[in-house]
Amino acid sequence: MDIGLLAQHVMNGLMVGMMYALVAVGFTLFFGVLDVIQFAHGDVLTVGAFTALVTFLGVRAAGVGSGPILLSAMVVVSIFAVAALGMLIARYLVLPLRTAPALNTLLITLMLGTVLRESVRLFYPQGANPKPFPALLPTNSINIGNFNLRLDNTIMLAAGVMVIIGVELLLNRTKLGLAIRAVAQDEETARTMGINFLAIVLVAFAIGSGLAAFAGIMNGFYYNEVNFGMGLYLGVIGFAAAIIGGLGSIYGAILGGFLFAALQTVGTVALPFGSAYKDVFAFAVIIIFMAWRPTGLIQEKISERV
């Protein structure tokens, strides 16, 4: 396969992988602080994308034409709105179920996902149809053989990298991050150390959901199209990526995200019997992987006092 084509595949893989990673980081954050899977995460992403879209339409209707302002408005509004949504979910759906078995949390968030998805479909005007997403980023591009490098993709990729680095710094360099990791390590001890458990959980959910919103916007700009079902698939894949990486580990999640993207690309490109089987391939690999590495790539610390 010629080099330009390869480069193209790598670029696509990076873009998609970045989105998967952003979603997966959310899953792993939630699991870190509460040992739960927030399965509505994918649909939270959808809400993020649609919030951004609505903001765009609103601000433009208000007569603002300049791209940068529109762009920043979309990002800011969407991220904050969705972060708030995340906190609400944590406070009123996840925390109340702490004593119940883990499956209950899994199911209640799955159902919440349905609620969010169906609400977008039913209450957004003609929400059942795909919606065009504005292209606000510079779209100039250079062609190197078969490789077509677009400025907007590059910008998004860079932005994604910066966001991830930001989260990494936040978790490892700040007091807040320390508190989050403390809660993740051992709740009781963290409490006794005078950490406000509730606050930390809410913050973690805010951050995770904010990331989802960002991924949603990125998704919108990348495909110039959003639809009510976009989150469902991304949610499952994000979850898979987080698991592959090893729940509770940020790096694992990022790794898992890019791995899954790679898996799909390979499934499409390299499989002899055509791209139709790429999902079969991807999920088969995952099952086999789980048999080989039952707790993911980056082993989750299991400290069982006997």
Binding site: Q8, N12, A128, N129, S141, E225, T268, V269, G274, A276
Partner: protein, 388 residues
């Protein structure tokens, strides 16, 4: 009993009749509609339901109508098992005389046996899989829209005539997409076009850059797409992202306002094919559009609204003619020939398939689906990508 009493009763009876008859009490007749009201393609389902509903309303508003009709609507979620349940419910309810059913081929093919068993006359309004009418010879099952065979012949013919030689095929892995792939490949082979690559994709897939990058390397002149609007929009958008210059050649599945709304300017130059004459070309079509708009439904009729309307109208016609009786309606439907409708003349062959010879070619021009013949592309004013 005494004569006086008899007289009194007679008078009463007359009086009663006099009182009742003028206040013409039409008896109620139930007719059914089934389509996907939830899930990915619900836009088309809702459009179809509204159109069928429109047909019923207009008929009820018509003073000449013999009966007052009530529309019973069920959801098949575009899932066969759900469809079988809905079909059973409708067919088993004896006072539903006939129904317009199914947009998704998978649901239509799953339910034909049910209709046959319960003897419910149905008119399929959207599903295009040939087997629905041709696998069995059920007198109950009819279809106003054509099959995907007709579509793909016309499609291959036009594109080869325009001088295109190399094609890449993307189809979703539902029976709709797979069927289209099959028939288009066959039709194209007859006309000497070459398929450089075929890609099956999931009907809920979001990212197509991997497939499209492959296609870019194969560098076809045309990308043929067998699938429905949602992923059609995504694929067209992502073609642009990867800077692929090729004709986007779709099927009836993307002939919808949603497709253009979803893409904006990018939709320009997309080709698609659909059975029946274009709605607005027909005397009835204009009328349909106006009436539909007048009802202020919250969804557009979409590609097959007109067919749903025609199917329901056909049903109402024959009920008016032979009365609310399933068996008689079936007999009457068998005789349908050159029946005028908003989708053109309807003639059922011995399989109950509308033998619409006419397939309309569409191209998107300035954000509208324009009939090919009167488009600026046909006149040569505009050119499709890579057109010689």
């Amino acid at each position: 009993m005494t004569r006086a009493l008899k007289a009194a009763m007679a008078i009463l009876a007359v009086a009663w009749l006099a009182a009742v008859v003028p206040a013409e009490a039409k008896d109620k007749v139930k007719v059914g509609f089934i389509g996907p009201l939830t899930g990915g393609v619900s836009a088309n389902g809702l459009g179809g339901r509204n159109s069928a509903d429109l047909a019923v309303r207009l008929r009820n508003a018509d003073p000449k109508a013999k009966y007052e009709y009530e529309l019973v609507v069920l959801d098949d979620e575009c899932k066969p098992n759900v469809a079988v349940q809905a079909a059973t419910k409708m067919a088993a309810e004896r006072d539903i005389v006939a129904a317009a059913t199914h947009y998704c081929s998978s649901t239509a093919i799953a339910t034909v046996d049910v209709y046959h068993r319960f003897g419910l006359p149905v008119v399929v309004w959207g599903a295009v899989l040939p087997d629905i009418t041709y696998r069995n010879k059920y007198p109950e099952v009819h279809r106003v829209n054509g099959t995907m065979i007709n579509q793909n012949d016309t499609n291959a013919e036009l594109l080869t005539k325009l001088g295109y030689k190399t094609f890449a095929v993307i189809h979703d892995t539902t029976d709709y997409g797979k069927g289209h792939n099959e028939y288009f490949s066959a039709a194209l082979a007859k006309r000497g076009g070459k398929i450089v690559g075929t890609f099956g994709v999931g009907s809920d897939q979001q990212d197509f850059t991997a497939e499209l990058t492959q296609i870019k390397a194969l560098n076809p002149e045309v990308i043929y797409f067998g699938g429905l609007t949602p992923i059609g929009v995504r694929i067209r958008a992502q073609m642009d992202k990867l800077g692929i210059k090729a004709v986007f050649d779709g099927t009836s599945g993307i002939v919808s306002d949603a497709y253009i709304q979803g893409l904006g300017a990018l939709a320009e130059g997309t080709l698609a094919f659909r059975e029946g004459a274009p709605t607005d070309k027909l005397p009835g079509g204009k009328f349909f559009m106006e009436k539909y708009a007048a009802q202020k439904y919250d969804n557009p009729p979409e590609a097959y609204g007109a067919f749903a309307y025609a199917a329901m109208d056909l049903i109402l016609d024959s009920i008016e003619k032979v009365g609310p009786d399933r068996r008689r309606v079936i007999e009457d439907m068998a005789k349908v020939e050159n029946r005028d409708s908003i989708i053109g003349k309807i003639t059922f062959d011995d399989h109950g398939q509308n033998t619409v010879s006419l397939i309309t070619k569409y191209v998107v021009q300035d954000g509208k689906w324009v009939v090919w013949e009167d488009s600026e592309y046909a006149s040569g004013k505009r050119k499709l990508p890579r057109q010689k």
